[in-house]
């Protein structure tokens, strides 16, 4: 299933057998999400928690 990326508006592919908490990412901008699967099979994307890279910027 394709879900809109919250960052760039691209399409994030979520596998049909994904489970809640599975990490998926946007092919275009690299945003990472946790898939949240509802009881009715609905899919939402929640920004994945991660340690940010320090580029000294």
């Amino acid at each position: 299933m394709l879900v809109e990326c919250q960052q760039c508006g691209g399409e994030v592919a979520v596998p049909s057998d994904a489970i809640s908490g599975e990490i998926v990412s946007c092919k275009d901008c690299g945003s990472e999400y946790e898939a949240v699967i509802g009881s009715q099979g609905t899919i939402e994307l929640k920004s994945a928690e991660k340690v940010g890279e320090d580029w000294g910027e």
């Binding site: 960052q7 760039c8 508006g9 691209g10 275009d28 901008c29 690299g30 945003s31 990472e32």
Partner: protein
């Protein structure tokens, strides 16, 4: 099978044309002309083609070569193709000029930017500006194309969505260009001598670079009014590649999502333009390193809302999408081939 000739085959662009033609399933290199290397094997100048192109450079009259060729590519120094084309145009060959002589539509622009009185201004209208992403339909109907300059290609492709969508304000666009040593051509000079060039970040043209004229011409066509552009060009420490970082001032900075939309809508069906704006990793924005050897142009962007600035980034291999690859793409369009024929090589990594 098409018979193809390259006029000016000993330069870097001529070498790239030769390499790409060997990969094309429907084109055969009939001859490659070089006055200075006539009689020498192609691989003596382009060692990468040893065992691939078993041919010597010819010194035969270029107009006669054109007469017997289905397609004639001209990769000559500025001012040379305009001496040949008035005769070549009388033949049936398809003409693809990689020099600057027929890129500009306004003869006065040649005086302004090239300090050059064009000898055949009436022929300027005969040539289509060979950037498929902007002029595909015209290229398809034409038999004469002028292939854009390498820096112009990078700057234009990265900027067009911003101009088209009205994101770019009416102020001047500043283009900062960085180019590798192959952009200076194959003839050595003190400036290109290894000891002098290695390690430089040499701003060789702070203003007034000739390719600026093409950028103005094409972006003004998109906007339907004059777009002011100023470009600074640097030589940097790579062999192949161009990166343009362009600064667009805008009173109304859209969201990043809206800018993504502008780029996606313009380039959705383009086989050789990739959008690069990744949030992670070392390579978040276009970098010519990842286009080397390919016909891809990578474009990306960012915003600086506080300064009301949008940054457009373009990167490509100056010898491929910036010259020979784009020329072959135009040939494919003109002759009805799949646009990607002969151009399917992915970029090299690492290089």
């Amino acid at each position: 099978m098409l018979n193809v000739s390259v006029i000016g085959g000993s330069g870097y662009v001529g070498g790239e044309l030769t390499r790409l033609i060997t990969l094309h399933p429907s084109a055969k290199l009939q001859a490659t002309y070089s006055r200075s290397h006539a009689g020498k094997y192609v691989h003596s100048v382009h060692p990468n083609l040893r065992g691939i192109v078993d041919m010597t450079f010819t010194g035969e009259d270029p107009v006669r070569l054109a007469q017997s060729s289905d397609v004639t590519f001209l990769s000559l120094p500025h001012g040379q193709s305009s001496k040949l084309i008035p005769e070549m145009i009388k033949t049936n060959t398809v003409l693809i000029d990689l020099g600057a002589d027929f890129r500009l539509k306004d003869k006065d622009a040649y005086i302004r930017w090239y300090n050059y009185q064009h000898p055949s201004p009436d022929l300027l209208k005969e040539f289509v500006y060979g950037l498929p992403e902007l002029h595909r339909a015209e290229i398809k109907k034409s038999r004469r194309v002028a292939v854009p300059g390498c820096m112009a290609t990078s700057a234009i492709l990265s900027l067009v969505p911003l101009v088209r969508e009205g994101i770019a304000g009416t102020g001047p666009i500043i283009v900062d260009a960085k180019v590798g040593s192959s952009g200076s051509g194959g003839k050595p000079s003190l400036a290109t001598h290894f000891s002098e060039r290695y390690g430089v970040v040499r701003i060789y043209k702070p203003a007034g670079h000739r390719h600026t004229a093409e950028i103005i011409q094409e972006l003004s066509n998109i906007r339907n009014s004059k777009v002011d552009v100023s470009m600074s060009a640097h030589s940097v420490n790579m062999v192949r590649g161009i990166e343009t970082t362009s600064h667009v001032m805008s009173s109304n900075i859209p969201s990043l999502k809206d800018i993504w939309k502008a780029y996606r809508s313009f380039y959705a069906d383009e086989p050789f333009v990739r959008l690069v704006r990744d949030l992670h990793g070392a390579n978040k924005y276009p970098d010519p390193k990842f286009t080397v050897g390919s016909n891809f142009a990578d474009v990306g962007f960012d915003t600086d809302p506080e300064a009301k600035r949008v940054i457009a980034i373009g990167a490509l291999d100056n010898l491929v999408k910036g010259a020979a690859g784009n020329a072959v793409q135009c040939m494919n369009i003109m002759l009805g081939f799949d646009e990607t024929e002969g151009l399917k090589s992915p970029p090299l990594h690492p290089v």
